[in-house]
Symmetry: C2
Subunit: 634 residues, 2 copies
């Protein structure tokens, strides 16, 4: 694994160029970047002078920074962007595919543990869960029926293969399903659910893995298994929503992966639910459009899973939630009824907006089989800046200014803390790419997306210069090409993976008003310190905070040496009570699944929960859809 | 009424300044505008030359335009902006308030007809509607109960006063309610509905008129009545959704008009449902934010009504629909249960998103009493351009380019046709403000909103110069100050009022893919021409098309000499069948009410309608909420 080179002190913006450019482009861009860089860095030398007279790098958190030399006077330094790229080039295709699959989700070492047979059944870990005896057990007759409507390749009963669909990458959940069905049409989904409903067979809809499965067919079975495992459940990964608990039939949507239609005037895209998010985004990229959502798991998660979990992700700040961007859905109800609402209209006020109920329903009301979504025009210019700051107050000040000054071009505003960057540097290639000179208590990644690079550069420069002048940020860099943009993002996107390598990680995904966002981390730390359970050789090793400032969404991670009831009791229900006390949500974007359903009352009133139960009973009276999850146990 | 001065030929952008500015500002802006104007107008004189070598005004539809003189060489001309402003100044306060109230909604002459007693009862006009005898008739005991929970000023039984709540401004609907209640708290709404539900009293929720009522208390009763009338039902105005049919109790939300909370970091606004949209927008303006929706009726419509009808309006293109921007709702269910979901969180994935069902439910599932909505930052720079074009194909080309070139600053893209501008010029003050030299078959209003005026000007200039060079637009002007922006918008916003003065107007609000948007108008015209029923002395006088190109939303107006069954039969169900055939919606943003409910099947499948009915039965088993509307008659 690539480790950060401790002798490397500074990475300069004008060192970093796109190596794939031609020499002419390179020289031209170098001259331009130097000029731009001078502007960023040397606010003291040209009008208008900034009050503090500092530049974007010359001050560190400790105030000891001194780097102010002109670029040409410095000696060549190893470029971590180049190192990473060359390292990437040295990898075999298989390694690269695997690296892609594991990107920001899990590590191969973690996988091994999943498959060593030690993962406990969910039913054993949650002893309050009892199999619902109104559900029929699978019989040969049932299998015969499914064989009559599906190709044999769409039916999986092999125990080893089933393991992949029965467990999640975080080693927390493991079900006991004996059957996986992979329908390839809406009609097949309809027939499956109709039969299951009539015969009281419970069903778990599951996001699929087709895209990568296709690619890894040539590898051995173990590799394929790892790949499959890496890529399923990308969305439900924390709450166990897509993993069976008992013997539910898994309906995998991986075989429904066609794009049905795209309108280049309106940007309306209609596709099967099993399409992989990144595949859709690439398809749109070629047509000048962009998917309105983006997640670290984009290379594996399905658009149907995104819709079913109301995935938020990295572009929500700019393009809003799926409740606004989804134009229509095709859903198969538990009784097999096909609800055809694949509208491509931006406006349609004819009756209750039924599709909204299925967005974020985690497959408890039916299976989403088709999605119509409005894609925005893809921005021609993207800028990414990484900033080092001393306090969360400074992050808030930076956020407020970004809304004022970057305004319509602001497309992401992410933050992480010192613990997070420490783990990334320890565990990931991305850690070697931290271009900041020193370590700071907080980091912010700001992204702008616009239609005119010069305008965006000007706005971003002004914004950053103002922040430096007013001593709000301590250091910062601006990516100068696509590779650097990817590398800065890799730090942010690598945090979940880095956390997962820090031991047994308790993950919480809470939202609250921005001013108290980081207080959740501080309060948790204070609690564990006061109980003397955190530190070397103790129960917990660290508390990590990162997330989407723009959405008031904190990913709170508490790393322990191992999962235990004692550890759980120290952080739960404290964290849920904390969220409730601060008018927050106990699940901002990760949903409820099997792990949060009984905590719903922290975020929703009894009246609200009662109405939810009524809707569930109305649409799924036999309760066959994704049982034991989402709504509180009765 | 101010008529267009036929001797006035040309209005130049640099004539138009804000008269309220100081002399210094005036001179400064004049110099700047002149420079800017030169840039727009004289593409031939400076680099880079445009291929066609034309300027934004020198070519008319007929090619006869010749205006190319320098500003200083021209004689002073009467400035219609100034005329309008002076005319405004000459008006009494009462007249101005009335003018405000009538802005883009109705005319006083139209009002007179409403009050001459000729408006037929809805129940007589739609004889298929029968009073539901399961509903109890109002008794003295009921009145006593309402008097026990409400202040006497919150109860209206006076027949003359009731007339205002019983009818709509379009002279189409008239109910027979005997009681109007104006609760001032959520608890009062809860008590009212609980009582009505237990006693089978039918209820119609109604958008209110508090803001203007307050202002006109000093005027005489007739005036007050007109004011009230002018300002209620602003949203439901076409479908009759907020007007009673029989003796339903009207629950007016006009007394619930407080802003509850505003978070200046996130932009989350929480307020009572009875707040007037424009009042909220002004409140936010002072804090640097903007309401994410805007309608011609903003001065009178309520945010609760907007939510209940899922109002679209003029900013949808930029900020998306209410399904995305509404963060939470407080709703009183028919049985009096208060559903408290006034979340201010941008992300909250805890359970079914229940609030979504009430957005666009037209009060059939309960009464929205509180709204939490995400307001975006208000743009510092606004530009508005008015363009004249020869064909709808040119409009489409212009729209596509605007998405590419204006991209993130594009905030509105509206169009209208020659018939529309003809009516505005004939009937409205706004018509005198058309600054284009000639008449064109089509008009487009493009608005940009951004954070940097210079950048936005640059983008807009490039966009417009490109359109002129490529012969896509024939003429155009760009507003140079706030007054001009308002005046250009007044043309667009005046179209509904102008149409209403063209006789009895059949109004349709349909959405469809952009390429066939104007075909609906052409096909309707062709149909009426082929049947020889349009023209001087015939049944119909004109077919008018205008709307929101960006949303694929056409407002199709067919003007007749009078409403008649014969006229209706000539355009219905043709227009609904047309929308269904083109995968469109029969109601893009105006809802269903009492006039479109039985046409729902043109846009939704039987399965969808069946599920809607189930939801209605689940939440409102006694059917007391806004009966006879929204869902098809059983």
């Amino acid at each position: 694994m690539l480790r950060r080179d401790p002798t490397r002190i500074e990475l300069r913006a004008d060192d970093l160029v796109d190596f794939e450019r031609s020499r002419e482009e390179y020289l031209e861009s170098k001259a331009k970047l130097k000029d731009q860089h001078r502007k960023f860095r040397s606010a003291t030398t040209g009008p208008p002078p900034t009050p503090a007279g500092r530049d974007l790098r010359s001050t560190t958190a400790s105030g000891s920074g001194t780097s102010s030399g002109v670029n040409n006077s410095r000696e060549p330094r190893p470029d971590p962007f180049e190192i990473a790229q060359q390292e990437r080039k040295g990898k075999s295709t298989a390694e690269r595919v695997l690296a892609r699959a594991t990107f920001s989700t899990y590590s191969p070492t973690c996988l091994a543990a999943v498959h060593d047979g030690k993962v406990a059944y969910t039913a054993d870990k949650f002893p309050h869960l009892k199999r619902d005896h109104s559900f029929k057990k699978l019989s040969e007759k049932d299998i015969s029926y499914f064989k009559s409507i599906l190709a044999s390749s769409s039916i999986t009963q092999d125990e080893e293969d089933l393991e992949i669909f029965n467990s999640d990458w975080l080693r927390k959940y493991r079900g006991q399903s004996k059957l996986v069905l992979k329908p390839s049409s809406t009609e097949q989904v309809s027939k499956i659910l109709k039969y299951c409903n009539e015969n009281r067979l419970a069903v778990v809809p599951q996001g699929g893995n087709t895209g990568l499965v296709g690619k890894v067919e040539k590898y051995d079975k173990e590799m394929q298994k790892q790949m499959l495992h890496a890529t399923h459940n990308a969305i439900y990964f924390i709450t166990g929503g897509s993993v069976p608990v008992f013997d539910e039939i898994v309906v995998s949507m991986s075989s429904m992966n066609s794009i049905r239609n795209f309108d280049p005037v309106s940007g309306a895209l209609v596709c099967d639910a099993g399409c992989i998010l990144e595949v859709l985004d690439k398809y749109l990229e070629e047509r000048g459009y962009i998917m309105p959502l983006d997640l670290g798991a984009k290379g594996s998660c399905h658009i149907g899973g995104n819709v079913s979990t109301n995935a938020g992700g990295l572009r929500l700040l700019r393009y809003g939630s799926l409740h606004g961007t989804v134009l229509g859905l095709e859903v198969v109800l538990p009784d097999g009824t096909i609800l055809d609402n694949l509208s491509t209209l931006r406006k349609d006020n004819t009756g209750y907006d039924l599709k909204q109920l299925f967005i974020g329903a985690e497959g408890t009301l039916g299976i989403v089989t088709g999605v119509s979504i409005l894609s925005p025009k893809r921005s021609k210019a993207i800028n990414v800046a990484l900033l080092g700051l001393n306090s969360f107050d400074q992050i808030q000040a930076t956020f407020k200014r970004s809304k004022d000054e970057l305004s319509e071009i602001l497309s992401a505003f992410e933050f992480w803390d010192q613990e997070a960057i420490k783990l990334v540097k320890e565990h990931l290639v991305a850690g070697a790419k931290d271009p900041l000179q020193s370590t700071y208590p907080f980091y912010v990644l700001v992204e702008t997306s616009g239609s005119n690079k010069d305008h965006d550069d000007y706005k971003l420069n002004n914004f950053l210069e103002g922040l430096m002048s007013d001593d709000i940020v301590q250091d910062g860099v601006v990516a100068q090409d696509t590779t650097q943009i990817h590398n800065l993002w890799a730090i942010r996107e690598g945090i979940p993976e880095a956390c997962s390598k820090a031991g047994a990680v308790y993950k919480y995904d809470i939202s609250m008003p921005v001013p108290v966002l980081y207080k959740a981390v501080e309060d948790m730390k204070e609690r564990l310190v006061s109980k003397e359970v955190i530190g070397d050789g103790k129960l917990f090793t660290s508390v990590i905070g990162y997330g989407h400032v723009g959405d008031g969404n904190l990913h709170l991670n508490v790393a322990a040496n191992e999962f235990s009831q004692e550890a759980t009791n120290l952080i739960e229900p404290f964290v849920f009570e904390w969220a409730a006390k601060h008018a927050g949500s106990i699940s901002a974007e990760h949903g409820l699944g099997v792990s949060r359903n009984n905590h719903l009352h922290y975020s929703k009133s009894p009246t609200m929960i009662q109405l939810m139960i009524k809707f569930k009973q109305l649409i799924d009276p036999n309760g066959i859809m994704n049982p034991y999850k989402y709504l509180p146990d009765v």
